[in-house]
């Protein structure tokens, strides 16, 4: 992808349909939102008709509901249960297989990664950032013209991810109606796509019709746009589109406290709040499965009956799983408290040290899909309150000359 250009255009619904048709005709697997089983899921689209025209969602902690919309908008829903990692970093993937010959010597053969050429349609700005974050973790470096910072670049990238990511074309859909669990703005993002896309659409539905304001983000995006009927952007469409995205910034359903979260997490390792969370958390791992940045995997060995053929598979794993931290002698993180702490501390703090950016983009999925309704924005606020209360206590204690409270180990 070349540098982001300033080029803009307007597509109507026919133009969007032509865009999808052009991608399909070009041999790409087009993935985008569609309604299935009572949710907006991401699945292969055969035409633009599969998009969730006329559907919105109502979200809350532990709650997700589809709602019909009068205006027929296609991108007026927020993040659903899946994210694009399901395609770029699939749930299960074979890494290699091996066969043992008559002489007992195994031959190891790398399994060619499933290499479809994807086009992702309707990528939310939060999910664009999530993809950029997974790029750093799994592709070792930004594969195209994404962020150039390289702290902690992984020396041995995930080949399958890298291959699929390289070929993928990203068409963003900017947010005009954030959901009640969204908090991208306070997770240093926003409802506008600020890079890393080939095309960015902003949906506009008003008296002038149903249309999409388009920003071009790459040469490939420009070529694609050239091939479908579009018109040049008029000022009204552009200002309505940009205005709606700007307004969305003010309508975030939730927010993280405006604090140095890295410091907060580092200072909260011994907090009591973790016990409170542990009393509610079911360690079901839903939050890690739906999170667009969570990348952890484990491996397993599958042998056939002869015992001479074996396959090495990689599949998603979760830090909420007891076996995740298993060492000879038992798990390092046995308590629920320690597992939730690991998850949140990694997201908001140690991810920076490991990969040069944070690990949360504020998409709100973990809040929506937590069966216990655990809300990370609320938990962070509670941790901050606990820290502040402890600091106040210490001051008071010192003022009256008595001993201060021992808050446990504080690295």
């Amino acid at each position: 992808m070349g540098a982001i250009t300033q080029a803009t255009a307007v597509l109507d619904r026919q133009g969007l349909a032509a865009l999808v048709a052009a991608l399909v005709a070009g041999g790409r697997t087009v993935v985008g939102p569609t309604v299935r089983d009572g949710a907006v899921v991401l699945a292969e689209l055969t035409s633009a008709e599969d998009l969730p025209f006329g559907w919105g969602v109502e979200l809350d902690a532990g709650r997700y509901r589809l709602t019909p919309r009068e205006d027929g908008a296609a991108f007026a829903h927020s993040a659903g249960p899946q994210s694009w990692k399901a395609f770029l970093h699939p749930q299960r993937e074979q890494l290699w297989s091996a066969r043992r010959g008559p002489d007992g010597v195994p031959t190891f053969t790398e399994t060619q990664p499933e290499s479809r050429t994807y086009a992702f349609l309707g990528v939310r700005p939060c999910d664009l950032r999530a993809i950029a974050i997974q790029d750093r973790v799994l592709a070792g470096r930004p594969p195209r013209a994404l962020d150039s910072a390289r702290a902690g670049a992984t020396p041995f990238p995930d080949r399958g991810y890298r291959q699929r990511r390289r070929g993928a074309l990203l068409i963003a859909a900017e947010c005009t109606e954030p959901g009640a669990t969204c908090f991208c703005v306070s997770a240093s993002g926003g409802p506008a796509a600020d890079g890393g896309f080939d095309l960015a659409l902003t949906e506009v539905v008003d008296d002038d019709g149903h249309r999409f304001f388009v920003r071009v983000g790459s040469e490939e995006g420009a070529r694609l746009l050239d091939g479908v009927p579009h018109r040049s952007a008029d000022l009204t469409t552009e200002s309505v589109a940009r205005g709606a995205v700007d307004a969305a910034r003010e309508h975030m359903g939730r927010s993280l406290p405006p604090l140095d979260l890295r410091a907060l997490m580092g200072e909260s390792l011994a907090a009591d709040r973790w016990d409170g969370i542990a009393s509610r958390c079911l360690t079901c791992a839903n939050c890690t499965m739906v999170c667009p940045t969570c990348f952890c995997t484990t491996t397993e060995e599958v042998t056939d009956l002869t015992g001479d053929h074996t396959e090495r598979w990689q599949h998603w794993d979760s830090c909420f799983d007891l076996d995740f931290s298993l060492l000879h002698g038992g798990p390092v993180r046995a308590s629920t408290r320690s597992r939730y702490r690991q998850w949140l501390t990694h997201k908001l703090s140690t991810w920076h040290d490991q990969f040069g950016s944070g690990g949360c983009v504020g998409c709100g999925r973990c809040i929506t899909w937590c069966p216990a309704g655990i809300d990370i924005t609320e938990e962070v606020a509670a941790l901050a309150a606990e820290r502040d209360a402890a600091a106040d206590d210490q001051h008071t204690a010192h003022d009256d000359g008595s001993a201060h409270h021992d808050r446990g180990p504080q690295p």
Binding site: L95, W96, A98, G104, V105, P106, T107, F108, E110, V137, L138, A151, G152, T154, P155, F156, P157, D158, R159, R262, A263, M265, G266, E267, L269, A270, F295, C296, T297, T298, T299, E300, E301, T303, T310, R312, Q314, D317, C319, F324, S325, L326, L327, H328, V332, R333, A334, S335, R337, S338, Q342, T345, S349, T350, H352, D353, Q354, P409, Q410, P411
Partner: protein
Amino acid sequence: MTTELSVVAPPAPAVRHAEPRLPVPYRVIARWPETPDTVTLRLDPVAEALADFVPGQFAMVHCFGRGEIPVSVSSIPTTGGLAHTVRGVGAVSEGLCAARVGDVLGLRGPYGTGWELERALGQDVVVVAGGIGLAPLRPLIRDAVAEPRRHGRVNVLIGARTPDDLLSKYETRRWATAYTGVTVDRPADGWSGEVGLVTRLLDRARFDPPRSWAFVCGPEPMIRATARDLVHRGVSGDRVRVSLERNMRCATATCGHCQLGPVLLCRDGPVVGWDRAEPWLSVREL
């Protein structure tokens, strides 16, 4: 606190950079039992070899049909190949211990940081090993005693649960050090040596703390106690190098399992400075 564990530059990639997860066949050319549950395997490449290992680094060792586990290099013969010393504690490690001469295993690596003995040039060296922890330290000790003029006094302190659990018993005696101490937690009949924690041997070791480097590997409580003791005696925390263990599935910094706070132990470790590890090893269940 700002989480201030800087990311150490990763070592040069292995030969098979294009296929980072694919094991390379290595043949067992010699095998000797070290203790009732620990075996050393001397391995040579069947064809293509991995890049050179440095002491402290590890390989992912594959046992056909069972899986692969991280194992440190326990010897780096000048004639090529390498050795691993494996303690059988579960499916994969027991499978490796059962390997016979002539069997072929799969190896990939080298991974992780090394001990970096070369940083201790002209300084006293204190090596402290607990149990299987001697395995990753063995190539370092051999280097240290092979060229005595490069360092000050070299000390080797070894602890094990019982006399039966001591590795390298014969080699240990031959090492020309300023001090070699061996202690066990539980003596058996005929044991006339030391009894007690390995940290007790520090009183006998001959080193000048401000001019010393220490290299420590063993069970985590032992590492913690030893490193704290060394720092208390005046060795600088960043010169106490410890090798840590966490679950590892990929060794390529992509599986997320080997996190210790800000560190990915397969990439930024397993050998890290105690000054950096200490805050995170002091919190339970981190």
